[in-house]
């Protein structure tokens, strides 16, 4: 029961985060595109990166909301947050200057706060994977028991 509740809370947190982040990027798409362009790590890619980021964020939300795909969703969320965190780390380490391209209040974060915030979500993603996998496994076990009993 507690595990189920924990999973629901994690799903809720990730959905809120990604919907919020993606919507902000959509609403200020031009600004987001410009900011991505300013990033020295992404200059070579140009056009398709902004759309890709927003698309992936929405896909993760869908995966998390469909119960059967939730484990995949947690993996995707975990991977995406890891990627964002590694990106911030790379910017802080290698870039001669620091551009910002996160929407809304996330833009107000300092880069170190950002790093901590993101790392927190990486851990939450990992927690989601473990809990959900346990849940799925339990369910599978129960189902096979039920089949056996028949």
């Amino acid at each position: 029961m507690i595990k189920k509740l924990a999973i629901e809370i994690l799903v809720f947190l990730f959905v809120v985060l990604f919907v919020y982040a993606a919507l902000n990027k959509v609403l200020e798409f031009q600004k987001f595109t410009v900011q991505i362009g300013q990033s020295p790590l992404l200059t070579g890619f140009g056009g398709f990166v902004p759309g890709l980021v927003i698309g992936v964020e929405f896909i993760v939300v869908v995966l998390l909301l469909v119960p059967r795909l939730r484990l995949v969703g947690f993996f995707a969320a975990f991977s995406l947050m890891t990627m964002f965190t590694a990106y911030i780390g790379a910017i802080l380490t290698y870039s001669p200057y620091v551009p910002c391209s996160c929407g809304g209040v996330l833009e107000k974060f300092s880069w170190t706060e950002h790093l901590i915030f993101n790392s927190g979500f990486v851990v939450l993603g990992l927690a989601g994977i473990v809990l959900q996998a346990g849940q799925d496994w339990e369910q599978e076990f129960n189902e096979s028991i039920t089949r056996l009993e028949k």
Partner: protein
């Protein structure tokens, strides 16, 4: 359980790997060397003294061979006077007539002995006074907005302003006789957007009566007389003759935000004109340069303003190995460098700094 672990580690590796690929493809790790050469003669400058300013809000407002004036961003009406030899400091409070009646955006102070100026190009206002009494009154013809302000003498000023309605940088002069404002369109060459691509630094050398404008994002500088007639266009060492960035305008409602849409690709970061020489802190690494030395300091390239010829280069190393040069000025035989809240005084010891038309 084992399979789960493999998947977790796999996703983690994939994500980190993606960013590693991005880093590798970005060229940030690549050798950033350019095709030009620098010359580093031995010991062109000697560090003499260091002064702790305590606050990093001070900036260099002017000076001469024995005194340096520091103004303050946060307390705009205070000036710190530092003696270059004795290293003692004195604080003066500027009296500016009518300054309390006006709202300001960012008040700046410039000291050009025996005069000093308090100005804000966004209001716009220019106040002028003498360093003897440190009290200033409004200059009569300050009706135009400006971004940069350089006194030619106590009556005439060179400015850089944004044109209207086309927002492009234009150089011009404010004069005591009619017309009071004379803008010279066509001096700065637009390459991308006209606003960022023509951004640069303006200096006046009163010994040779030359006005110099050095672009931030390309390898060119204009040398002009006091009527803004171009004497010649000089080039810095590097090969960046075309501005490399792209720019964009973000519109939401009536609001317009002008911004770059690519990395800035800065060429010339800081500069100074003194004794017939142009000093440039370049952002680019030369072919014969040591990356370690380049990263440990700020490289300064020196050009002779007589003909734009390159003279030499030297480093101003980071203060405490970590604090990068914030700004620098050259007064007589001294180079005064500010590193956040520290002032370091160097002596220009090389005879190469003494030029034909400088007074050295």
């Amino acid at each position: 359980m084992r399979r789960l672990m493999v998947w977790v580690v796999g996703s983690f590796a994939f994500s980190v790997g993606t960013v590693v690929v991005l880093i590798a493809m970005s060229g940030l790790l690549k050798d950033q060397r350019n095709s030009f050469l620098r010359e580093f003669p031995p010991h062109p400058v000697m560090e003499r003294d260091t002064l702790n300013l305590i606050y990093n809000s001070y900036y260099l407002a002017g000076g001469n061979g024995h005194t340096v004036y520091l103004a303050n961003y946060t307390t705009p009406l205070q000036v710190l006077i530092a003696d270059l030899r004795r290293l003692d400091t004195m604080r003066v409070h500027l009296k500016v007539k009518g300054i309390m009646d006006q709202k300001f955006w960012s008040v700046r102070v410039k000291v050009d002995s025996p005069n000093f100026y308090v100005y804000d190009g966004a209001v716009p206002r220019i106040y002028r006074g003498e360093t003897g009494h440190w009290s200033a009154e409004r200059y009569l013809y300050d009706s135009t907005y400006f971004l940069d302000f350089v006194p030619l003498d106590s009556e005439r000023f060179a400015i850089r302003a944004l044109g209207y309605p086309v927002k492009e940088n234009v150089l011009g002069r404010i004069l005591p006789d009619v017309p009071h404002l004379r803008m010279e369109k066509g001096l700065l060459e637009k390459q991308v957007d006209g606003m960022f691509c023509t951004d640069g630094m303006m200096h006046y050398a009163d010994d040779t009566e030359r006005l110099v404008y050095l672009y931030h994002y390309r390898n060119e500088f204009l040398v002009m007389d006091t009527s803004l007639r171009v004497q010649y266009r000089g080039h810095t060492l590097d090969t960046i003759s075309r501005v490399k960035f792209t720019a964009a305008v973000l519109r939401s409602g009536a609001e317009e935000v002008f911004t770059l849409s690519s990395p800035p690709y800065l060429v010339n970061r800081l500069s100074e004109v003194s004794n017939g020489l142009l000093y440039v802190n370049s952002n680019l690494l030369a072919a014969n340069e040591n990356q370690g030395a380049f990263d440990a300091g700020s490289v300064i390239d020196v050009y002779d303003l007589q003909d734009g010829r390159y003279v030499l280069s030297f480093y101003l190393y980071h203060f405490d190995r970590s604090v990068r040069l914030s700004e620098f000025r050259v007064f007589g035989d001294y180079l005064v460098a500010r590193y956040e809240d520290r002032l370091v005084i160097y002596e220009l010891t090389s005879t190469l700094f003494k030029t034909r038309d400088g007074h050295g």
